[in-house]
């Protein structure tokens, strides 16, 4: 089925209807389950915050878990729904390798924001006093 519009395509990927439907169904269920788990974690964080002494480390841990689950969701959307997983390695690499820039991007800017906060708290006692959450309210 070579067609003028397909000139660049040397090789066609074929999947029969049954395999395809099964894959889409499984991915849909997986994405839904991950979302539900994320919501449960979100509500857990809410309840920890409501408590008397929120455990900062526990909250951070749950937030980290949500971030990992979100990355998993992103992976399945890109790989299955957008069919990137079915493309040849050359294509996958030209898309994925530039995205590695995000490792620096996220780290550097979060670090910068955090450092700004620490410096301001250190040198501006008034600001710190005004904005740090009181233990009880």
């Amino acid at each position: 089925m070579q067609h003028p519009a397909f000139e660049e395509v040397t090789f066609h990927h074929h999947s029969d209807d049954v395999t395809f439907k099964k894959k889409v169904k499984n991915t849909t269920i997986l994405l839904s389950v991950i979302t539900v788990v994320e919501l449960i974690i979100g509500l857990t964080i809410y309840n920890i915050h409501k408590g008397d002494a929120p455990n900062a480390l526990l909250v951070l841990m749950f937030k980290g878990m949500v971030c990992i689950l979100t990355s998993a969701k992103a992976y399945y959307i890109v790989s299955v729904f957008m069919h990137l997983g079915d493309e040849i390695r050359n294509v996958i690499m030209t898309i994925v390798v530039p995205l590695l820039l995000f490792i620096w991007f996220i780290t550097a800017f979060i670090w910068d924001g955090n450092s700004y906060k620490n410096l301001r708290n250190r040198y501006d006692a008034h600001y710190k006093e005004k904005s740090v959450i009181p233990a009880k309210h």
Partner: protein, 293 residues
Amino acid sequence: MTTTATVQQTKWWTGGKSPFNMEYGKLMMWYFLMSDTFTFGAFLISYGSIRFSQNFWPDPNVVFNAFPGAGHANLPLAFVSVMTFILIISSVTMVLAVHAGHNNDKQGVVKWLFWTIIGGAAFLGCQAWEWHHLITGEHAILVNGQLDIVGQTTRINPWGRLAAQADIATAIQNTPREMLIRLAEMGGHEHAGATHINFASLPDTELIKAIDIEGLHIRENGPVAFGGYFFGITGFHGFHVFSGVIINITMLLMTQKDVFARRGHYLMIEKAGLYWHFVDLVWVFVFLCFYLI
């Protein structure tokens, strides 16, 4: 399995064939989406940077706890999960439309594109409701030594720290009378309709007593940047959803006019599909950054 073996054995860089094995338009769509990823990424990272620079940031579960028709019930995360599922399902229907296109099944493409468009429109409707609810919301806050009633806009954020009782007692003395009347009227959400007191006729001291300070959960004003980032990023995403819906409608009309049938392939549906999935992908991260953490 034979397919995989052939792919690996093919010498893609020896010339005479595209080393990407992908048609031009689709490859360029991928690169466009990659650049758009950096645009959204930059927005979200800048939001993260500002958030990390603050000692206090509002808890999303406190901010986003409303549901259409549920009045003042406290339902954190409920509405946004509906929005998330709408987008996931519309992404699934788009996959089915693309697949129908591979099989040159015109009716299938029309059917699934139609449902995708409905999903996109439903999402936009939800977002419109949420924005309207946030902007027109009435929240009692303590700002500049006075009490005030505000909604969430790009200029003010009503979800700061809970105000100290002593500060409220001082601020209430400096608050203009009209505001005190509004606060007194607001206080009775739980027992609305039970009593019809004409607050405007009360003297100041009685009026202050009539205000339900406990029930109002008076807060200080929160970080101003919250509104700008929230409306800016969800707005930019909503604009993507909107343009995606327009693209999908165009694809639907073209399918019905047999443009793709004459062309012999439904590659355009595939490109529109990539864009639509990207919109879903971005939402996954917006959902994470604004609602979950």
